[in-house]
Symmetry: C2
Subunit: 273 residues, 2 copies
């Protein structure tokens, strides 16, 4: 799909439009050019965007795809009018009306989902979770582990840190993480500071070959990165996790989003919030 | 809206369904109960979810709202059939068909947007950006700053760290951050290690009262957290940022999502990717 441009137009950050657009376009193996246009919250700005969309349409000879999340009706109507030469995907309209009927309520046309939640409890919890996860990254602190919602364990570079930060940022979950090291393998059990919290431990493992590749980028030619050492550590860590009876999975072919969704399901016993 | 349950049902992580659902429900000031059901990728699992939805409908006497992102037609048809007593919001159907016509292509019904991208270049760039942002948090390292896409500056606790991590995680942007400290105010210019990179610096400021509140949670009764000191630091930092001619904004009433969207627009000169 060459020469196709996709616009994300929102009166807020545009995150919803973008998340949704990426998902839909993944159904087409499309690699279009993405143009993000957040904070379009006035009629003037809407007219400017339409001009930009029409210029792209003329230059490329194909309609741009335009995902919109616009709460204000006067702004929205400019994008959805015949003036606009894009193929407009109006995310709100398709779903707001059936919900208004279902709830027997009018929608409030509130602009920007993230805007008034900025200082909400939910938002503050997310920021606090990020700080917690940073302070408890890589076994830095065993203090206050009772406050953790989940404790990730695994060998160095198995994906613990990005997963912890993702859980905190996206879901407001306090995720500590703890490396499994040779001393743990010799003792044959989880670090003793984790023993009281075994029910909230979750293990990550990874293919030894993939691990060696990742570690070699950091410390080329080291024992740490050698395939023999990676095979040893991975095998020991998996034995230890099996013996401990904790949930665990391999991060080798999984994204942090998938690992996080699994942890939410298995450890944090959805339904949540 | 009491006693209303919202399901997010997906064959992948459910992030798209959830992001979208939260956005739509924000239009109704709704505070429903959220139930996340990821990885629903077989007919058996689909039938189980329908049973669960119907049990909730019977117990609550109201239809649950069900946001679905299901690529497989056999799985999807179970959720959208009359058997299912929820109000089903089918995110793909409404938009995939117009796009198939526009592109002259059939969609590939690929399950899980994050699944096969896990080891893609884009994914690896995001993980690398997270590692970069962690290594360059709070001025920890001035090495390799030329590789930064953006460098956030501001007084301690003005929101630099969560914003850096968000930019890395969500957008794959290498965001370093650097604290502004009394020595910088005395010298009256940005830290000298940043001088060559002024074009990619972005400043964060914050109301002194809000800053004092945040700092007091960390170090109660300290000079660091006192309102006088916070007023001094904020005033000096704002003067310094103005004098330097860098872009900056106040994080006081903004979420990290909004700050990130502004940085993408102002510093990283969208269109991106």
């Amino acid at each position: 799909m060459p020469n196709r441009t996709v616009f994300y137009v929102s009166d807020g950050t545009g995150i919803t439009a973008e998340t949704f657009g990426h998902s839909i376009l993944a159904q087409f193996s499309a690699k279009p050019r993405h143009v993000r246009r957040p904070f379009i919250d006035s009629v003037d700005k809407a007219h400017k965007i339409v001009t930009e969309i029409n210029a792209v349409a003329a230059a490329e000879g194909r309609r741009p795809i335009v995902f919109i999340t616009l709460a204000r009706l006067d702004v929205r109507s400019i994008l959805t009018s015949d003036q606009c030469k894009g193929l407009v995907m109006d995310l709100f309209q398709a779903f707001v009306e059936p919900l208004e009927r279902e709830f027997g309520l009018k929608s409030n046309h509130r602009v920007g989902r993230f805007s008034d939640v900025a200082k909400s409890q939910e938002y503050n919890d997310r920021i606090e979770a990020i700080n917690f996860s940073l302070a408890h990254d890589d076994g830095q602190s065993s203090r206050n582990l009772e406050a953790a919602d989940v404790i990730l364990v695994g060998v160095s570079r198995s994906g613990k840190t990005p997963t912890s930060l993702y859980l905190a940022m996206q879901h407001g979950i306090k995720a500590a993480n703890y490396p499994l090291i040779p001393e743990d393998f010799e003792r044959g059990h989880l670090p003793s500071s984790l023993t009281p919290y075994k029910h909230k431990c979750f293990g990550l493992t990874i293919d030894a070959e993939r691990l060696a590749h990742i570690r070699n980028e950091r410390r080329p030619e080291s024992k740490y990165a050698s395939i023999e050492n990676c095979r040893y550590e991975v095998k020991q860590a998996e034995m230890l996790m099996k013996r401990s009876g904790i949930h665990w999975l391999s991060s080798t072919h999984k994204s942090i989003e998938e690992i996080a969704a699994t942890i939410l399901r298995d450890v944090l016993s959805d339904p949540t919030s």
